[in-house]
């Protein structure tokens, strides 16, 4: 077990997989850096520090810097993946899905289906996402609500360094296209990372804390917020069963339903605005399949129906927080059917 930051886990996992599999390539903007510049190439290794050293090791045919052309990045990665390569595409901010969504939604996600199950497109689209940096409305968004809604994609949202390794390894080796969402505010988080080959299969939630009173479902940065809240709630004798879902598609329905059947109360924490979101998705699952177990309304702690505002005070107010989670759990505990 090594102790590493998530950003380094991402880099190292890609490194290991590139060493392991010659057919693996990666593409993105500035993932090398310094191409065509006096101080380059590889002046940088990715603005998130997730590809440092890879160009030097694997060369320009496998670690490919691109112009600012996200549709062409996804298209190129997809075309390579359709013809025998495996590919990792980096979209610098998940917010930029807006300029390449067709390639993701109508092409990559649908190839296998619309071509009659005869093709594979082993492609990982890495997208740093999320708020917390005061990066304002166009650089702070979550997008799992969109990609989870798209049949044909798998969607991964790791929250710990160990999970980042196990899930990214699975993503790269997976034969289906995978959206791999990395929360920008978690890049610097340190934790234990298993050595050697380490694969976490998709569709398995991680039990974060155990408790009998409230089930809390979370992903990404929300997991840590839920943990903080749970610690506080524990002091008031409220036991939280936190599940880090890890992948939103496929979804670990069983773990969710089991937990709710035990606790009878569901609290969902989601960084997205409230409409047509992953929070509502989880709520609907439970309202349909574990209805009889519910002792209280299903509560959701989400961002409001607004863009992500810039100013510090506004962004903090916008985001879910441990306090808001505590308040929701307390409300659920005190609910009595009218």
């Amino acid at each position: 077990m090594a102790i590493k930051m998530i950003r380094d886990v991402i880099r190292d996992t890609i490194d290991e997989e590139m060493a392991r599999d010659d057919s693996l390539i990666m593409l993105g903007e500035d993932i090398v850096g310094g191409n065509g510049a006096p101080g380059g190439p590889e002046a940088i290794g990715g603005i998130w520090g997730t590809s440092g050293g890879l160009w030097a090791k694997y060369g320009a045919d496998r670690v490919i810097d691109t112009p600012i052309s996200e549709s062409a990045i996804i298209g190129a990665a997809a075309g390579a993946a359709l013809t025998g390569k495996r590919a990792i595409a980096e979209i610098m901010f998940a917010d930029f899905i807006g300029v390449c969504m067709d390639q993701i939604w109508n092409q990559v996600a649908k190839f296998r289906y619309m071509f009659g199950g005869k093709t594979t497109c082993p492609l990982v689209i890495r997208m740093p996402y999320g708020a917390g940096f005061n990066a304002a409305p166009q650089h702070s968004q979550v997008i799992h609500q969109f990609v989870t809604a798209m049949p044909g994609l798998k969607v991964v949202m790791p929250s710990t360094p160990g999970d980042a390794k196990g899930l990214l390894t699975q993503a790269i080796r997976d034969d289906d296209p995978v959206i791999f969402l990395e929360h920008k505010a978690l890049y610097g988080v340190k934790g234990e990372v298993p050595d050697g080959d380490y694969v976490i299969p998709f569709g398995h939630a991680r039990q974060v804390t155990q408790g009998d009173d409230v089930t809390i479902l979370a992903t990404g940065m929300m997991v840590g917020f839920a943990e903080k809240a749970a610690a506080e709630l524990a002091q008031d004798g409220i036991g939280c069963d936190i599940l880090d879902l890890r992948t939103t598609s496929p979804l670990d329905e069983e773990a969710i339903l089991d937990s709710v059947e035990r606790t009878g109360r569901l609290l969902i924490v989601d960084e997205a605005p409230p409409r047509c979101s992953f929070a509502t998705d989880l709520s609907a699952l439970v309202a349909q399949k574990a209805f009889a177990s519910l002792k209280a309304p299903i509560d959701m702690v989400t961002a409001p129906h607004s863009p992500v505002p810039f100013a510090r005070e506004l962004e903090s107010a916008y985001l879910p927080s441990p306090d808001k989670i505590v308040a929701s759990a307390v409300k659920l505990m005190s609910y009595r059917r009218g």
Partner: protein, 320 residues
């Protein structure tokens, strides 16, 4: 370039297969036999065949909404294509894709595509593979698609990455109902492609030999590591944009004129018989064989197994 007798017959057979495939579809659609939106390729056969006769299974092409011709030219199975268009579960895409999504990776055909301009970026990626294989990747696009941002991005990226990608623009002068003269602001799409930093030429899309020779040059150029190239093929579409289109945007007598004067099959026949490379009887024999093939394809497609409701959720993922 001098083609062998076999090669000439093969090229003619391919073009004729496309033509009869499309003419037959036109009739079947009018009878209500076929569902969905169908865009016929008839008239442009010399483009698809002039390009694809140079290609092997590890050369890649990607196509458009008007994809049947490219599919046939690249070697997709005609019976399986017909079944697909009829929505059979034995179709090339098991009835999931239909006319606009026929693909076969085994022959290097990366798919017809319903999104205008979506193919070019994907061809760039196939170009990455092609570069490592010593093959080429071809993006077919129309005169309408050449204005889509994705096409431009793909051209620039192929130049930056020096990939063996050839952008084939079939200029049939219309995007749906709008004239190329209106929608392409540039002096020409070729001049615009050239300014992206690639070799860009034009050829006569109703003359198989013009297309074929020009493509030989471009493929050699790309395989020599010079980066991408583009070609504009002046051609005609014989039917409406999609089946059902009343074509009110055509000029008076336009359809008759192009069918009379600008038919690539007639052009081919005249050229090869006048030059005494092939005899008319030989071509007639091919016509008959192709006609027979299409008859069988339609007959089989009508009889073929239909998909079942359980098929809906098959093949969304490999494993989930």
């Amino acid at each position: 370039m001098q083609l062998s007798r076999e090669a000439l017959i093969r090229a003619y057979r391919q073009m004729k297969t496309i033509r009869l495939f499309e003419e037959r579809l036109h009739d079947e659609i009018a009878l209500g036999e076929i569902a969905g939106f169908t865009h016929l390729y008839a008239g442009q056969e010399a483009c698809a065949v002039g390009v694809c006769e140079h290609l092997g299974p590890t050369d890649y092409i990607i196509s458009t909404h008007r994809g049947h011709g490219h599919c046939i030219a690249k070697g997709c199975d005609v019976m399986a294509m017909m079944k697909e268009i009829y929505g059979s579960r034995d179709g090339l895409c098991k009835g999931k894709g239909g006319s606009m999504h026929i693909a076969d990776m085994n022959v290097g055909m990366l798919g017809a595509n319903g999104i205008v301009g979506a193919g070019a970026p994907i061809a760039v990626g196939a170009g990455i593979t092609a570069k490592s294989n010593g093959t080429v990747s071809i993006a077919f696009s129309g005169d309408g698609a050449c204005n889509q941002g994705t096409t431009f991005e793909a051209m620039n990226m192929a130049v930056v990455l020096k990939l063996p990608v050839i952008f084939v623009f079939e200029n049939n002068h219309y995007s749906e109902h709008t004239g190329e003269a209106y929608a392409v602001g540039a002096e020409s799409m070729t001049a615009r492609s050239a300014a992206f930093g690639m070799k860009a030429i034009k050829a006569n899309g109703i003359d198989f030999f013009s297309v074929y020779d020009a493509m030989r040059e471009l493929i050699d150029y790309c395989k020599a590591g010079n980066g991408p190239a583009s070609i504009e093929l002046d051609c005609e579409r014989f039917y409406g944009h999609f089946e059902g289109d009343p074509q009110r945007y055509r000029g008076p007598g336009e359809l008759d004129r192009i069918r009379e004067e600008r038919d690539c099959l007639k052009t081919f026949r005249t050229k090869v018989t006048e030059a005494k490379l092939l005899e008319g009887a030989e071509l007639d024999r091919v016509d008959a064989e192709v006609s027979d093939l299409i008859d069988r394809a339609v007959a089989e497609a009508k009889q073929a197994d239909r998909p079942t409701p359980q098929d809906v959720l098959q093949d969304v993922y490999i494993s989930y």
